[in-house]
Amino acid sequence: MKNKYNYSLISGICITGFIVLMTIIGNFWTPYDPNELNVTLKSTAPGMDHLMGTDNLGRDIFSRVMAGTGTTLYIALCTVFVGGFFGTIIGALTGYFGGWIDEIVMRINDIILSFPSILLALIFVSILGSGQFNIILSLGILFIPSFARIVRSEIIRLKNLDFIESAKVMGAGHLRIIFVHMMPNIVVSMLTTAAIGFNNAILAEASMSYLGIGVQPPDASLGRMISQSQAYLFNAPWFAIFPGIVIILTILGFNLMSEGLRRESM
């Protein structure tokens, strides 16, 4: 029973679009300076002046949310690029050529993948120190195995298909076969994996910021806002709720979009 409209895709695009729009605008303009303290206004409830209220130091939550989301999205995007780029190369080469290098790399991959990423990220960060760059580095490296695994299994699947053998007979070289013949067939799986990785990165970054091991102040970060808000939960719940909802919407939007895309390609 197929619906006429791809509801997942549509709602996904709407939600994600809204979040992305908010972030882009936030880059150039926010209602208030996210870091501006205004002690007299501390912990005011959401209203016309401050759409999402203010936090315990009188900062406008909406502005901070706009800035914080930007940080989160940026980190997630970079993670996906780093992991995707290296993961593709590793996965494609090991899958195509096989051999003992493939076995070793896959073994390492499996080990990394059997650990929950947050754990490894924490350890990385404890070694390298916190800060945006290190987080991107850690999460990016941790994303490589999942990407490599997917790309590798697709390459292996394609390797034995007749059209690839045919290409070999007709004289195409290895690199040409991998990148010109095989890649276009893998794009969909890669995008799906990228979407999953994107979401995991958002969750990881938010969790790490919550734990205090993420981006450092005074940069706004959704996770840390929620962490700071806990003490004021009873009096000023909006302090915690809005950043949380934004995180949920971001992840949800992306999930819906990637599911919608998958349905389209079937």
């Binding site: 029973m1 197929k2 006429k4 096989g98 003992w100 076995e103 070793i104 073994r107 298909l161 007749d162 059209f163 053998e165 045919s166 290409a167 070999k168 007979v169 007709m170 004289g171 195409a172 013949h181 276009p184 067939n185 794009v187």
Partner: protein, 508 residues
């Protein structure tokens, strides 16, 4: 007792996807009497499988019966409640399918699966069920039934699994056995064994069989009456010999068309490929570090010469090594010892499966241009011209160059594969089961194309197939392979025992 067991009356079934409903069966009507073997023959899209699924109530949720009746001993099955219909399934009417591997549950033991029909339909105690199952397994010619009882499907061969399916289908008092392409996925020699088994079942139990196949020879072998279907409709029906010998409908006539024959004269005997003492190995790796790698000896001490301008047929079943031989000659496989001397040019290849031989992500035009690009032709318009030329040579319109493979039929795709093999002015082609995956009428089209191209461009061809009929009529010389060795070069009557067995299984 009424003579009629099953009467299908004006059955119309439509298929619903997201687009408009499509009729897959249109006013289908026929009768199966008690103790009769009726065949339904047709190609893909004819509706023959749909008919059998409708009778058994196994249609998917996408398909629905718009009108008609299915009378079982007088009662309309379509008017029955699901519970009532279920009492018949696996009991008085049962079905066996084409792929015995996937048709059996991989995680349940054989004995348990087979016995399930008794469990569902009778109140027999477990011990009695087990003994009945063992007996049935013996009846269908299986040995070591006690061990078999506790085994899993993947531990059995294809032929054994199909026997298990038959045992399972006949365990109760089955009046009608529907067999949907039961031998298509099996080797030729196993095929005839299964057909013999079905004949035995029919004789002993007087069970009616509705036998569905695309293979005319099989239908001729086992059926008394035959129904010919085309695009959801019955185009002809009657006694088998009558329909086969004097077909009335144009389509039936097309089905019965004889295969193309080649004039058997070759002028020169210039070798274009010289193989001596070839041994080909295949290493299976287990995927684990340090595990033992099995080295299989696929082709043993093979010597062969291919002469310019001939069509050389290589016939054998799966496991004979014919495909591995082809792949090695063409350069796809390098683990071999012995001599392969290519005298004029390297051969190009046409593969079996039209659905995987073209890159699904690329347009037809791009696919045809690839060999040209690799051959060094840098001028785009020159390539375009060659592609246009080739498309017409293989009988396709130029507009197809902008389509994706998934938009084309199996026959069209094979034409493109042939085009790719010839576009660089190659004169030596290896066709590895190039028509085996196609419908019968399309098969003869493609074979005719190959014959035409062969004479027009003075090609040399190695034609590999398991189908002895095609090979004998198409090829100048025929070589028979069995378990990696050349068993005989066919010259009139078969001399070797294996070739004789192939002949006997060929059924005509």
């Amino acid at each position: 007792m009424e003579k009629e067991l099953l009467e299908v009356k004006n059955l119309t079934v439509s298929f619903f996807d997201h687009q408009a409903p499509e009729k897959v069966l249109d006013q289908v009507s026929f009768v199966v009497n008690h103790g009769e073997i009726v065949g339904i023959v047709g190609e893909s899209g004819s509706g023959k499988s749909m008919t059998s699924l409708s009778i058994m109530g196994l249609l998917s949720s996408h398909a629905s019966i718009s009108s008609g009746e299915i009378l079982w001993e007088g009662t309309d099955l379509l008017s029955l409640k699901p519970e009532e219909l279920r009492k018949l399934k696996g009991n008085e009417m049962s079905m066996i399918f084409q792929e015995p591997m996937t048709s059996l549950n991989p995680v349940i033991k054989i004995g348990s699966q087979v016995g399930e029909v008794l469990k569902i339909h009778t109140t027999m105690p477990g011990e009695m069920i087990k003994s009945k199952v063992l007996e049935a397994l013996r009846e269908v010619g299986l040995r070591d039934v006690n061990t078999l009882y506790d085994q899993y499907p993947h531990q059995l061969s294809g032929g054994m699994r199909q026997r298990v399916m038959i045992a399972m289908a006949m365990l109760n008092e089955t009046k009608l056995l529907i067999a949907d392409e039961p031998t298509t996925a099996l080797d030729v020699t196993v095929q005839s064994q299964i057909l013999d088994l079905l004949k035995k079942v029919h004789q002993q139990r007087q069970t009616s069989i509705l036998f569905i196949s695309h293979d005319l020879n099989v239908i001729k072998e086992i059926c008394q009456k035959v129904i010919v279907m085309y695009e959801g409709k019955i185009v002809e029906a009657g006694e088998v010999m009558q329909v086969f010998n004097s077909p009335k409908h144009a389509y039936t006539r097309r089905l019965m068309t004889s295969l193309p024959k080649v004039t058997k004269e070759i002028i020169t005997k210039t070798p274009i490929l010289y193989i001596k003492d070839l041994n080909i190995f295949y290493t299976e790796s287990n995927g684990r570090i340090g595990s033992k790698r099995h080295k299989k000896h696929i082709v043993k001490d093979l010597s062969l010469e291919v002469y310019e301008g001939e069509i050389l047929g290589i016939v054998g079943e799966s496991g004979s090594g014919k495909s591995t031989l082809a792949k090695t000659v063409v350069g796809l496989h390098s683990d071999y010892s012995g001599e392969i001397k290519i005298i004029k040019e390297k051969p190009s290849m046409v593969f079996q499966d039209p659905y995987s031989s073209l890159n699904p992500a690329k347009k037809v035009g791009w696919i045809l241009e690839e060999p040209l690009k690799n051959g060094g032709i840098k001028d785009k318009s020159e390539r375009r011209r060659l592609v246009e030329e080739m498309l017409s040579k293989v009988g396709l319109e130029f507009s197809l160059r902008n389509r994706y493979p998934r938009e084309l039929s199996g026959g069209q795709r094979q034409r493109i594969s042939i085009g790719c093999a010839l576009i660089n002015h190659n004169r030596f082609i290896i066709a590895d089961e190039a028509v085996s995956a196609l419908d019968v009428t399309i098969q003869s089209q493609i074979l005719n194309l190959l014959v035409r191209l062969h004479s027009e461009y003075e090609l040399t061809m190695m034609f590999i197939s398991h189908d002895l009929n095609i090979v004998r009529s198409l090829c100048h010389r025929v070589i028979v392979m069995y378990e990696g060795e050349i068993v005989e070069e066919l010259d009139g009557k078969p001399k070797h025992a294996y070739t004789q067995m192939l002949f006997d299984s060929m059924l005509h």
